[in-house]
Amino acid sequence: MNAPGGLFIEALAVRAGDKELLKPFSLRVDRGEILGVIGPAGSGKSTLLRVLNRLVDLDDGLSVSGTVQLDGANILGPEVDVPSVRKRIGIVFSVQVPLPMSIYDNLAFGPRLAGVTDPGGLGTLMEESLRAAYLWDEVEDRLREPASNLSGGQQQRMCLARTLMLRPEVLLLDEPCSGLDPISTAKIEEALQGLKKRMAVILVTNNVKQASRVADKTAFLLMGELVECGPTQDLFTNPKHKRTEEYITGRFG
């Protein structure tokens, strides 16, 4: 049913013992669009991303049900090769985590795991990824420097580029701009507009305005429940639920 490169979430639910972290819901996001996910802290936004990247496998005591289809195959299936799912569905975390090595080695980390080591190929891929993350001009001459020399905003864009090095089909972003200055935020938002042409993007954000600026579709999560999801403009101008309206107008959350 879904277009190539799209992600089709069906009846997905996550429980931790008796507690429902995510109540069953369905959602789809296609290549060429950005799905914004908004909601107050603790509403399950990050859990959702961790499920999609299978990082949830590292968490103790969580049980996941439902299916998530990428190109028609369920990535939650038991026989799935998890590392290859993670290469196809990349994630950028809310706190920038440069690995303690050079910018070059950070970027080459993913491809090298997959066995790509020739400098020519890595170089081409690096320029492409850094340009897409709006960082190329700033680091072009300093790729051999430790990544910790970069500013916070640059580090976050490097993390984005590091994820892009694997040419993922789906890009997950977990509050990528929290703690960044407005200029870095603007650069990342601009980068996403270019990236969505090549992949499906899910942007989790605490910043309602950011979702309204960037997202094509927006989903509102509240305490593990998908309250509503629709084209961003509709959701912001004409929300179907009272709770959505209250949240986006800032009356709670």
């Binding site: 990247n53 990082l55 590292l58 103790d60 590392p83 290859s84 993670r86 290469k87 990349g90 994630i91 975390f93 706190v95 985590v97 690995l99 303690p100 090595m101 980390f109 993913g110 795991l113 997959a114 910790s148 993390c159 590091r162 994820t163 694997l166």
Partner: protein, 296 residues
């Protein structure tokens, strides 16, 4: 009033400790310095240890510690990596292994010596002789290999604990980044965890070496010789060792008075060796701590 009393009391305690250390070091340096020449370090003992040097003991100590290191580092590092990276957190097995390691570090050294005699020599060594050498006596006797392996067991907790400490200092976010980029667990350990833990592993290794170099009890029954006219060349040779040599000179020498200056110098050499190793470990560790602080 009480406060001042306790401050004075703890200052006194510190002073006593410093004074004792200074006295021991000063005494050894004063009496040991005189005999300490290059030829003393490079010659073999003569005339029932009343003359000559201590080269075989220095050589034996280095050889012993080298084999011990080769055995203990991989075993200790792999144990720590398993406990910290592979085993399910809070599992029964992990708790038992940690408890066993903690207890291992509390076992008296002489018990390790007896264990080495019973397990390595009588069980493993004799078993090897029966299986491969037609019961000819090859490995079923005290040898540098068995002494080194016994010391490796003794120093295993040091390496495991130091490595685990280093592994715990690595933020989980680094592991998640590696996984999120498609790393398998082995790739994550090899490319993210071990490179960052290398300093802690090194520190543990050096501490193990400095501890191992000074222990006498574990090698007493497992391979150390009173006197040997040759240097150990094979793994099943016996050997002379500094700590054991000190014990022998102090208690077994035919002429205790005559060996006294040599005894002092030997103690001086052994202390210098372990101090250098300890200071290296401290230096390496502080460098790594500084680097970690800068990275954060």
């Amino acid at each position: 009033m009480m406060g001042r009393f306790f401050i004075a009391l703890s200052a006194l305690c510190c002073a006593v400790i410093v004074a004792m250390t200074a006295f021991v070091l000063g005494d050894i340096a004063y009496f040991g310095w005189e005999k300490l020449t290059l030829s003393f370090l490079l010659a073999a003992p003569e005339q029932g240890m009343a003359a000559g040097g201590i080269f075989p003991a220095i050589f034996g100590t280095f050889f012993l510690v080298l084999i011990m290191t080769v055995a203990v580092i991989p075993l200790g590092v792999m144990t720590a990596v398993y406990l910290n990276e592979y085993a399910p957190k809070h599992s029964r097995l992990v708790q038992w292994v940690r408890l066993a390691i903690a207890n291992l570090s509390g076992v008296p050294a002489i018990v390790f010596g007896l264990f080495g005699l019973g397990f390595f020599i009588d069980f493993v060594g004799k078993g090897m002789d029966a299986a491969f050498f037609g019961s000819r006596l090859v490995f079923g006797q005290p040898a540098i290999l068995w002494a080194a392996l016994t010391l490796a067991l003794l120093t295993l907790p040091t390496v495991v604990v130091a490595t685990e400490e280093a592994l715990r200092a690595i933020p989980d976010s680094h592991r998640e980044v590696a996984y999120s980029l498609g790393a398998t667990r082995l790739q994550m350990v090899r490319r993210v965890v071990l490179p960052q833990a290398i300093g802690g592993i090194l520190t543990g290794g050096i501490l193990a070496v400095s501890r191992g170099a000074g222990e006498v009890a574990p090698i007493l029954f497992t391979g150390a010789a009173y006197f040997l006219p040759y240097l150990p060349k094979k793994l099943n040779d016996q050997f002379m060792e500094l700590g054991y040599h000190i014990y022998v000179m102090a208690t077994q020498s035919p002429d205790v008075e005559a060996t006294k200056p040599i005894l002092y110098s030997t103690v001086f050499v052994l202390l210098a060796l372990t101090f250098v190793l300890n200071f290296t470990a401290i230096w390496v560790r502080s460098r790594i701590r500084r680097r970690l602080r800068l990275a954060k």
